[in-house]
Protein backbone atom coordinates (compact mmCIF):
# COMPACT_ATOMS: atom_id res chain seq x y z
CA UNK A 1 0.00 0.00 0.00
CA UNK A 2 1.22 3.48 -0.79
CA UNK A 3 0.18 6.95 -1.85
CA UNK A 4 -2.50 8.06 0.53
CA UNK A 5 -4.32 11.31 0.18
CA UNK A 6 -6.79 12.77 2.61
CA UNK A 7 -9.56 15.22 1.88
CA UNK A 8 -11.29 16.85 4.80
CA UNK A 9 -15.01 17.22 4.31
CA UNK A 10 -16.38 20.34 5.94
CA UNK A 11 -18.23 22.25 3.24
CA UNK A 12 -20.15 21.02 0.24
CA UNK A 13 -17.25 22.09 -2.02
CA UNK A 14 -15.01 19.56 -0.32
CA UNK A 15 -17.20 16.87 -1.86
CA UNK A 16 -16.09 18.14 -5.27
CA UNK A 17 -12.45 18.10 -4.19
CA UNK A 18 -12.78 14.51 -2.98
CA UNK A 19 -14.35 13.48 -6.29
CA UNK A 20 -11.54 15.16 -8.19
CA UNK A 21 -8.78 13.55 -6.12
CA UNK A 22 -10.39 10.16 -6.44
CA UNK A 23 -10.79 10.52 -10.17
CA UNK A 24 -7.16 11.58 -10.63
CA UNK A 25 -5.98 8.59 -8.66
CA UNK A 26 -8.28 6.23 -10.53
CA UNK A 27 -7.01 7.57 -13.84
CA UNK A 28 -3.36 7.20 -12.74
CA UNK A 29 -4.03 3.60 -11.74
CA UNK A 30 -5.43 2.96 -15.21
CA UNK A 31 -9.18 2.68 -14.69
CA UNK A 32 -11.35 3.25 -17.78
CA UNK A 33 -13.41 6.41 -18.19
CA UNK A 34 -16.50 4.48 -17.16
CA UNK A 35 -14.87 3.14 -13.99
CA UNK A 36 -13.50 6.59 -13.19
CA UNK A 37 -17.05 7.89 -13.35
CA UNK A 38 -18.23 5.09 -11.04
CA UNK A 39 -15.48 5.68 -8.51
CA UNK A 40 -16.13 9.43 -8.48
CA UNK A 41 -19.85 8.80 -7.98
CA UNK A 42 -19.17 6.42 -5.07
CA UNK A 43 -16.87 8.95 -3.40
CA UNK A 44 -19.49 11.61 -3.92
CA UNK A 45 -22.12 9.58 -2.07
CA UNK A 46 -19.88 8.83 0.90
CA UNK A 47 -18.66 12.40 1.16
CA UNK A 48 -22.19 13.70 0.93
CA UNK A 49 -23.28 11.43 3.78
CA UNK A 50 -20.46 12.81 5.93
CA UNK A 51 -21.45 16.35 5.03
CA UNK A 52 -25.16 15.73 5.69
CA UNK A 53 -25.18 13.46 8.72
CA UNK A 54 -21.86 13.89 10.52
CA UNK A 55 -21.19 17.47 9.37
CA UNK A 56 -17.45 16.72 9.10
CA UNK A 57 -14.99 13.92 8.49
CA UNK A 58 -12.32 12.61 6.14
CA UNK A 59 -12.18 10.87 2.79
CA UNK A 60 -8.99 8.85 2.46
CA UNK A 61 -7.95 7.71 -1.00
CA UNK A 62 -5.25 5.10 -1.47
CA UNK A 63 -3.77 2.90 -4.13
CA UNK A 64 -3.88 -0.85 -3.55
CA UNK A 65 -1.21 -3.25 -4.76
CA UNK A 66 -1.30 -6.93 -3.97
CA UNK A 67 -0.40 -10.16 -5.79
CA UNK A 68 0.19 -8.48 -9.13
CA UNK A 69 -3.04 -6.61 -9.11
CA UNK A 70 -3.82 -2.99 -8.45
CA UNK A 71 -6.84 -1.10 -7.32
CA UNK A 72 -8.18 1.77 -5.31
CA UNK A 73 -9.58 2.00 -1.81
CA UNK A 74 -11.58 4.86 -0.36
CA UNK A 75 -12.33 5.19 3.33
CA UNK A 76 -14.86 7.65 4.71
CA UNK A 77 -14.43 8.31 8.42
CA UNK A 78 -16.34 10.59 10.72
CA UNK A 79 -17.03 11.10 14.41
CA UNK A 80 -20.69 11.82 13.82
CA UNK A 81 -23.85 10.29 15.30
CA UNK A 82 -23.29 6.82 13.81
CA UNK A 83 -25.89 4.58 12.26
CA UNK A 84 -28.22 2.61 14.53
CA UNK A 85 -29.63 0.15 12.03
CA UNK A 86 -26.91 -0.89 9.60
CA UNK A 87 -29.04 -3.66 8.17
CA UNK A 88 -31.66 -1.27 6.86
CA UNK A 89 -29.04 1.08 5.40
CA UNK A 90 -27.72 -1.74 3.25
CA UNK A 91 -31.13 -2.44 1.74
CA UNK A 92 -32.71 -0.59 -1.14
CA UNK A 93 -35.52 1.61 0.00
CA UNK A 94 -37.23 4.87 -0.71
CA UNK A 95 -34.90 6.55 1.78
CA UNK A 96 -35.33 10.18 0.85
CA UNK A 97 -37.95 9.68 -1.79
CA UNK A 98 -37.18 11.80 -4.78
CA UNK A 99 -33.67 12.62 -3.60
CA UNK A 100 -31.03 13.07 -6.26
CA UNK A 101 -28.52 10.72 -4.66
CA UNK A 102 -28.68 6.97 -4.53
CA UNK A 103 -27.32 5.79 -1.21
CA UNK A 104 -25.14 3.03 0.25
CA UNK A 105 -26.62 0.06 -1.67
CA UNK A 106 -25.76 1.84 -4.92
CA UNK A 107 -22.22 2.55 -3.77
CA UNK A 108 -21.87 -1.14 -3.13
CA UNK A 109 -22.97 -1.92 -6.68
CA UNK A 110 -20.45 0.52 -8.14
CA UNK A 111 -17.50 -1.00 -6.29
CA UNK A 112 -16.15 -4.51 -5.72
CA UNK A 113 -16.39 -4.40 -1.96
CA UNK A 114 -17.95 -2.30 0.77
CA UNK A 115 -17.35 -2.57 4.51
CA UNK A 116 -19.14 -0.48 7.04
CA UNK A 117 -18.54 -0.03 10.75
CA UNK A 118 -20.55 2.28 12.87
CA UNK A 119 -21.24 2.94 16.49
CA UNK A 120 -24.01 5.17 17.68
CA UNK A 121 -22.58 8.32 19.24
CA UNK A 122 -19.04 7.49 18.13
CA UNK A 123 -18.98 7.68 14.37
CA UNK A 124 -18.97 5.81 11.09
CA UNK A 125 -16.34 4.25 8.86
CA UNK A 126 -17.10 3.08 5.35
CA UNK A 127 -14.40 1.47 3.24
CA UNK A 128 -14.81 0.66 -0.44
CA UNK A 129 -12.50 -1.05 -2.90
CA UNK A 130 -12.32 -1.54 -6.61
CA UNK A 131 -9.76 -3.59 -8.50
CA UNK A 132 -8.52 -3.03 -11.99
CA UNK A 133 -9.80 -5.69 -14.38
CA UNK A 134 -7.10 -7.21 -16.53
Amino acid sequence: MSEKSIVEIVTEWDIVTARQQGRNEAKAIGFTTVDQARIATAISELAKNIYLYASEGDIIIERLEENNRIGIAITAIDKGPGIANLQSVLEDSFSNSGSSSVGIPAVKRLMDKLEIESEVGKGTKVRIEKWLKR
Binding site: T33, V34, A37, R38, T41, D92, P105, L110
Partner: protein, 331 residues
Protein backbone atom coordinates in the same frame (compact mmCIF):
# COMPACT_ATOMS: atom_id res chain seq x y z
CA UNK B 1 -16.76 -6.96 -23.40
CA UNK B 2 -14.38 -7.12 -26.36
CA UNK B 3 -16.79 -9.28 -28.30
CA UNK B 4 -19.76 -7.01 -27.64
CA UNK B 5 -17.68 -4.01 -28.73
CA UNK B 6 -16.73 -5.62 -32.04
CA UNK B 7 -20.31 -6.66 -32.69
CA UNK B 8 -21.61 -3.18 -32.00
CA UNK B 9 -19.04 -1.60 -34.32
CA UNK B 10 -20.19 -3.89 -37.11
CA UNK B 11 -23.88 -3.12 -36.58
CA UNK B 12 -23.25 0.61 -36.32
CA UNK B 13 -21.07 0.73 -39.43
CA UNK B 14 -23.71 -1.19 -41.40
CA UNK B 15 -26.33 1.27 -40.29
CA UNK B 16 -24.17 4.28 -41.18
CA UNK B 17 -23.72 2.94 -44.72
CA UNK B 18 -27.43 2.74 -45.46
CA UNK B 19 -29.93 3.67 -42.78
CA UNK B 20 -32.04 0.58 -43.35
CA UNK B 21 -34.81 -0.82 -41.22
CA UNK B 22 -33.07 -4.15 -41.17
CA UNK B 23 -30.05 -2.69 -39.41
CA UNK B 24 -32.27 -1.09 -36.84
CA UNK B 25 -33.90 -4.43 -36.21
CA UNK B 26 -30.49 -6.08 -35.76
CA UNK B 27 -29.57 -3.27 -33.37
CA UNK B 28 -32.59 -4.01 -31.25
CA UNK B 29 -31.70 -7.66 -30.97
CA UNK B 30 -28.22 -6.64 -29.93
CA UNK B 31 -29.59 -4.51 -27.11
CA UNK B 32 -31.44 -7.55 -25.83
CA UNK B 33 -28.08 -9.23 -25.30
CA UNK B 34 -26.87 -6.23 -23.32
CA UNK B 35 -29.86 -6.42 -21.03
CA UNK B 36 -29.32 -10.13 -20.46
CA UNK B 37 -25.69 -9.51 -19.58
CA UNK B 38 -26.67 -6.68 -17.22
CA UNK B 39 -24.64 -4.07 -19.06
CA UNK B 40 -25.18 -0.69 -17.42
CA UNK B 41 -26.26 2.44 -19.35
CA UNK B 42 -22.87 4.14 -18.91
CA UNK B 43 -21.22 1.07 -20.39
CA UNK B 44 -23.53 1.19 -23.40
CA UNK B 45 -22.63 4.79 -24.05
CA UNK B 46 -18.97 3.95 -23.74
CA UNK B 47 -19.36 1.17 -26.29
CA UNK B 48 -21.01 3.63 -28.62
CA UNK B 49 -18.32 6.26 -28.07
CA UNK B 50 -15.54 3.81 -28.81
CA UNK B 51 -17.31 2.48 -31.88
CA UNK B 52 -17.70 6.00 -33.25
CA UNK B 53 -14.01 6.68 -32.59
CA UNK B 54 -13.11 3.46 -34.34
CA UNK B 55 -15.20 4.22 -37.41
CA UNK B 56 -14.62 7.96 -37.70
CA UNK B 57 -11.11 8.36 -36.31
CA UNK B 58 -10.24 10.61 -33.40
CA UNK B 59 -13.22 12.74 -32.44
CA UNK B 60 -13.09 16.49 -32.02
CA UNK B 61 -12.34 17.24 -28.35
CA UNK B 62 -15.71 18.92 -28.12
CA UNK B 63 -17.61 15.75 -29.05
CA UNK B 64 -15.38 13.54 -26.95
CA UNK B 65 -16.06 15.59 -23.84
CA UNK B 66 -19.75 15.58 -24.56
CA UNK B 67 -19.63 11.76 -24.54
CA UNK B 68 -17.65 11.75 -21.31
CA UNK B 69 -20.25 13.96 -19.73
CA UNK B 70 -23.02 11.60 -20.78
CA UNK B 71 -21.12 8.60 -19.37
CA UNK B 72 -20.69 10.44 -16.11
CA UNK B 73 -24.33 11.32 -15.60
CA UNK B 74 -25.50 7.93 -16.81
CA UNK B 75 -23.72 6.25 -13.89
CA UNK B 76 -26.24 7.94 -11.69
CA UNK B 77 -29.16 7.23 -13.96
CA UNK B 78 -28.24 3.54 -14.10
CA UNK B 79 -28.18 3.30 -10.32
CA UNK B 80 -31.60 4.84 -10.01
CA UNK B 81 -33.00 2.40 -12.55
CA UNK B 82 -31.40 -0.51 -10.67
CA UNK B 83 -32.85 0.71 -7.41
CA UNK B 84 -36.24 0.91 -9.01
CA UNK B 85 -35.96 -2.64 -10.33
CA UNK B 86 -34.95 -4.01 -6.99
CA UNK B 87 -37.92 -2.29 -5.36
CA UNK B 88 -40.23 -3.80 -7.95
CA UNK B 89 -38.88 -7.22 -7.08
CA UNK B 90 -39.52 -6.58 -3.41
CA UNK B 91 -43.03 -5.47 -4.23
CA UNK B 92 -43.61 -8.71 -6.08
CA UNK B 93 -42.43 -10.67 -3.05
CA UNK B 94 -44.89 -8.76 -0.90
CA UNK B 95 -47.69 -9.45 -3.34
CA UNK B 96 -47.03 -13.17 -3.12
CA UNK B 97 -46.99 -13.02 0.67
CA UNK B 98 -50.26 -11.11 0.54
CA UNK B 99 -51.85 -13.83 -1.58
CA UNK B 100 -50.80 -16.48 0.90
CA UNK B 101 -52.10 -14.38 3.80
CA UNK B 102 -55.44 -14.02 2.00
CA UNK B 103 -55.72 -17.76 1.57
CA UNK B 104 -54.96 -18.30 5.24
CA UNK B 105 -57.50 -15.65 6.18
CA UNK B 106 -60.21 -17.30 4.10
CA UNK B 107 -59.43 -20.65 5.64
CA UNK B 108 -59.38 -19.28 9.16
CA UNK B 109 -62.55 -17.28 8.83
CA UNK B 110 -64.53 -19.88 7.00
CA UNK B 111 -68.08 -20.21 8.30
CA UNK B 112 -70.77 -22.66 7.31
CA UNK B 113 -74.34 -21.60 6.75
CA UNK B 114 -76.46 -23.66 9.17
CA UNK B 115 -79.08 -25.89 7.57
CA UNK B 116 -82.26 -26.19 9.63
CA UNK B 117 -85.85 -27.08 8.88
CA UNK B 118 -87.25 -24.33 11.08
CA UNK B 119 -85.39 -21.42 9.47
CA UNK B 120 -84.00 -20.82 5.99
CA UNK B 121 -80.65 -18.99 5.85
CA UNK B 122 -78.82 -17.48 2.87
CA UNK B 123 -75.72 -15.34 2.47
CA UNK B 124 -73.59 -13.49 -0.07
CA UNK B 125 -70.30 -11.81 0.87
CA UNK B 126 -68.11 -10.35 -1.86
CA UNK B 127 -64.92 -8.36 -1.21
CA UNK B 128 -63.91 -5.43 -3.44
CA UNK B 129 -60.25 -6.14 -2.98
CA UNK B 130 -58.44 -9.30 -2.00
CA UNK B 131 -59.06 -9.08 1.69
CA UNK B 132 -62.65 -8.84 2.79
CA UNK B 133 -63.43 -6.14 5.36
CA UNK B 134 -66.82 -7.73 6.06
CA UNK B 135 -67.22 -10.88 8.01
CA UNK B 136 -70.10 -13.20 8.80
CA UNK B 137 -69.96 -15.88 11.44
CA UNK B 138 -72.63 -18.42 12.34
CA UNK B 139 -72.94 -20.27 15.63
CA UNK B 140 -75.24 -23.12 16.41
CA UNK B 141 -75.97 -25.23 19.46
CA UNK B 142 -77.72 -28.58 19.44
CA UNK B 143 -80.92 -27.51 17.77
CA UNK B 144 -82.12 -24.76 20.09
CA UNK B 145 -80.45 -21.63 18.79
CA UNK B 146 -78.72 -20.39 15.70
CA UNK B 147 -76.83 -17.10 15.90
CA UNK B 148 -75.20 -14.86 13.36
CA UNK B 149 -72.69 -12.01 13.61
CA UNK B 150 -72.41 -9.63 10.66
CA UNK B 151 -69.36 -7.37 10.97
CA UNK B 152 -67.71 -4.59 9.09
CA UNK B 153 -64.22 -3.52 10.09
CA UNK B 154 -63.61 0.19 9.59
CA UNK B 155 -60.15 0.18 8.07
CA UNK B 156 -58.71 -1.85 5.26
CA UNK B 157 -56.09 -4.40 4.39
CA UNK B 158 -53.92 -6.42 6.72
CA UNK B 159 -54.76 -4.62 10.01
CA UNK B 160 -58.46 -5.09 9.28
CA UNK B 161 -57.92 -8.76 8.54
CA UNK B 162 -56.08 -9.29 11.80
CA UNK B 163 -58.83 -7.46 13.67
CA UNK B 164 -61.37 -9.76 12.08
CA UNK B 165 -59.56 -12.85 13.35
CA UNK B 166 -59.90 -11.35 16.81
CA UNK B 167 -63.65 -11.00 16.40
CA UNK B 168 -63.85 -14.58 15.28
CA UNK B 169 -61.84 -15.93 18.19
CA UNK B 170 -63.83 -13.74 20.55
CA UNK B 171 -67.00 -15.35 19.26
CA UNK B 172 -65.46 -18.81 19.44
CA UNK B 173 -64.52 -18.23 23.05
CA UNK B 174 -68.12 -17.36 23.91
CA UNK B 175 -68.79 -20.75 22.48
CA UNK B 176 -72.55 -21.05 22.81
CA UNK B 177 -75.14 -19.78 20.38
CA UNK B 178 -77.55 -19.19 23.26
CA UNK B 179 -75.72 -16.20 24.73
CA UNK B 180 -77.62 -12.94 24.86
CA UNK B 181 -76.73 -10.54 22.02
CA UNK B 182 -76.13 -7.72 24.53
CA UNK B 183 -73.68 -9.91 26.44
CA UNK B 184 -71.85 -10.96 23.28
CA UNK B 185 -71.46 -7.34 22.19
CA UNK B 186 -70.18 -6.29 25.62
CA UNK B 187 -67.53 -9.01 25.70
CA UNK B 188 -66.37 -8.37 22.13
CA UNK B 189 -66.18 -4.66 22.83
CA UNK B 190 -63.90 -5.27 25.78
CA UNK B 191 -61.60 -7.56 23.77
CA UNK B 192 -61.32 -5.17 20.85
CA UNK B 193 -60.96 -2.05 22.94
CA UNK B 194 -58.04 -3.56 24.83
CA UNK B 195 -56.10 -4.97 21.98
CA UNK B 196 -56.65 -2.88 18.91
CA UNK B 197 -55.12 0.31 17.70
CA UNK B 198 -57.19 3.45 18.36
CA UNK B 199 -57.95 4.00 14.71
CA UNK B 200 -59.64 0.63 14.26
CA UNK B 201 -63.35 0.15 14.84
CA UNK B 202 -65.75 -2.64 14.20
CA UNK B 203 -69.46 -2.44 13.60
CA UNK B 204 -71.38 -5.60 14.38
CA UNK B 205 -74.95 -6.79 14.19
CA UNK B 206 -75.66 -9.83 16.30
CA UNK B 207 -78.84 -11.86 15.97
CA UNK B 208 -79.95 -15.01 17.72
CA UNK B 209 -82.86 -17.14 16.63
CA UNK B 210 -84.64 -19.30 19.18
CA UNK B 211 -85.73 -22.23 17.06
CA UNK B 212 -88.44 -23.59 19.42
CA UNK B 213 -90.14 -20.29 20.17
CA UNK B 214 -89.47 -18.49 16.86
CA UNK B 215 -88.01 -15.49 18.61
CA UNK B 216 -85.32 -13.40 16.98
CA UNK B 217 -83.24 -11.40 19.47
CA UNK B 218 -80.78 -8.84 18.23
CA UNK B 219 -78.36 -6.12 19.22
CA UNK B 220 -76.16 -3.82 17.23
CA UNK B 221 -72.86 -2.00 17.70
CA UNK B 222 -73.02 0.91 15.27
CA UNK B 223 -74.06 -1.34 12.43
CA UNK B 224 -76.27 -0.67 9.42
CA UNK B 225 -79.88 -1.38 10.58
CA UNK B 226 -81.27 -4.73 9.50
CA UNK B 227 -84.66 -5.07 7.77
CA UNK B 228 -87.51 -7.04 9.24
CA UNK B 229 -90.29 -8.03 6.87
CA UNK B 230 -93.67 -8.79 8.41
CA UNK B 231 -95.54 -10.99 5.94
CA UNK B 232 -98.97 -10.60 7.48
CA UNK B 233 -98.80 -6.80 7.31
CA UNK B 234 -96.77 -6.96 4.11
CA UNK B 235 -94.54 -4.30 5.61
CA UNK B 236 -90.83 -3.61 6.31
CA UNK B 237 -89.42 -2.39 9.62
CA UNK B 238 -85.90 -1.17 10.34
CA UNK B 239 -84.26 -3.02 13.19
CA UNK B 240 -82.51 -0.03 14.64
CA UNK B 241 -80.40 -0.28 17.72
CA UNK B 242 -78.19 2.61 18.61
CA UNK B 243 -75.15 0.92 20.15
CA UNK B 244 -71.65 2.36 19.98
CA UNK B 245 -69.11 0.83 17.56
CA UNK B 246 -66.93 -1.84 19.13
CA UNK B 247 -63.52 -0.76 20.38
CA UNK B 248 -64.14 2.89 21.21
CA UNK B 249 -64.79 2.87 24.95
CA UNK B 250 -63.98 0.13 27.48
CA UNK B 251 -67.25 -0.40 29.34
CA UNK B 252 -70.23 -0.04 27.05
CA UNK B 253 -73.68 -1.48 27.65
CA UNK B 254 -75.62 -2.76 24.68
CA UNK B 255 -79.38 -3.13 24.39
CA UNK B 256 -81.13 -6.05 22.82
CA UNK B 257 -84.65 -6.37 21.44
CA UNK B 258 -86.73 -9.24 20.21
CA UNK B 259 -89.37 -9.98 17.62
CA UNK B 260 -91.51 -12.99 16.96
CA UNK B 261 -91.14 -14.45 13.48
CA UNK B 262 -94.17 -15.94 11.73
CA UNK B 263 -94.27 -17.87 8.48
CA UNK B 264 -93.11 -15.76 5.55
CA UNK B 265 -91.34 -13.24 7.77
CA UNK B 266 -87.68 -12.60 7.17
CA UNK B 267 -84.71 -10.59 8.42
CA UNK B 268 -82.14 -8.99 6.11
CA UNK B 269 -78.79 -8.19 7.71
CA UNK B 270 -76.28 -6.29 5.63
CA UNK B 271 -73.21 -4.07 5.64
CA UNK B 272 -73.02 -0.49 4.41
CA UNK B 273 -71.41 -1.73 1.20
CA UNK B 274 -74.93 -2.72 0.19
CA UNK B 275 -76.62 0.57 1.04
CA UNK B 276 -74.04 3.20 0.16
CA UNK B 277 -73.65 4.13 -3.48
CA UNK B 278 -71.27 6.98 -4.00
CA UNK B 279 -72.35 7.53 -7.59
CA UNK B 280 -76.06 7.75 -6.78
CA UNK B 281 -76.13 9.86 -3.68
CA UNK B 282 -79.64 11.16 -4.16
CA UNK B 283 -80.97 7.62 -4.35
CA UNK B 284 -82.77 6.17 -1.32
CA UNK B 285 -80.84 2.93 -1.30
CA UNK B 286 -82.81 1.36 1.53
CA UNK B 287 -86.00 1.89 -0.42
CA UNK B 288 -84.34 0.37 -3.46
CA UNK B 289 -83.41 -2.71 -1.44
CA UNK B 290 -86.99 -3.04 -0.17
CA UNK B 291 -88.27 -2.81 -3.76
CA UNK B 292 -85.87 -5.44 -5.03
CA UNK B 293 -86.58 -7.81 -2.16
CA UNK B 294 -90.35 -7.48 -2.62
CA UNK B 295 -89.98 -8.86 -6.12
CA UNK B 296 -88.09 -11.91 -4.94
CA UNK B 297 -89.64 -12.67 -1.56
CA UNK B 298 -91.19 -15.88 -2.87
CA UNK B 299 -87.70 -17.37 -3.40
CA UNK B 300 -85.64 -19.09 -0.75
CA UNK B 301 -83.17 -17.14 1.37
CA UNK B 302 -80.09 -17.96 -0.70
CA UNK B 303 -81.81 -17.09 -3.97
CA UNK B 304 -83.02 -13.82 -2.47
CA UNK B 305 -79.44 -12.92 -1.49
CA UNK B 306 -78.18 -13.83 -4.96
CA UNK B 307 -80.84 -11.71 -6.68
CA UNK B 308 -80.24 -8.76 -4.40
CA UNK B 309 -76.53 -8.94 -5.17
CA UNK B 310 -77.15 -9.14 -8.92
CA UNK B 311 -79.53 -6.17 -8.93
CA UNK B 312 -77.35 -3.94 -6.75
CA UNK B 313 -74.27 -4.81 -8.80
CA UNK B 314 -76.20 -3.73 -11.88
CA UNK B 315 -77.11 -0.39 -10.20
CA UNK B 316 -73.43 0.13 -9.45
CA UNK B 317 -72.47 -0.53 -13.07
CA UNK B 318 -70.85 -3.82 -12.13
CA UNK B 319 -68.20 -2.06 -10.06
CA UNK B 320 -68.60 -2.58 -6.33
CA UNK B 321 -67.34 0.34 -4.27
CA UNK B 322 -67.20 -1.45 -0.95
CA UNK B 323 -67.28 -5.00 0.38
CA UNK B 324 -70.80 -6.35 -0.08
CA UNK B 325 -72.40 -8.63 2.49
CA UNK B 326 -76.00 -9.68 2.99
CA UNK B 327 -77.49 -12.42 5.16
CA UNK B 328 -81.16 -13.39 5.08
CA UNK B 329 -82.97 -15.47 7.69
CA UNK B 330 -86.39 -16.50 6.52
CA UNK B 331 -89.12 -18.25 8.47
Amino acid sequence: MGYLQVQYEKILSDYLKNQSEENLYIGQNYIRQLIQKNITPEEVINIHKQAVEQLHGTLPKYVEHAYDFLIEVMVHYGLKVKEHQSLLMKQEELRIEMDIATKIQNLMLKTNIPKLNQIDIGMVSVPVRKMNGDYVYFLQDDGHHVSVAVTDVVGKGVPAALCMSMVKYGLDTLEYANNNPSYVLEVLNRIIEKSVDDSMFVSLFYGRFDVENNIFTYGSAGHEPAFYYNAKESKFYDLESKGLLLGILPEVKYRQSEIHLNDGDFIIMLTDGVTEFRKLEELDSRQLIRDIVMKFKHLNAQQMCDELYKQILCYQNYQLEDDFTVVIMKK
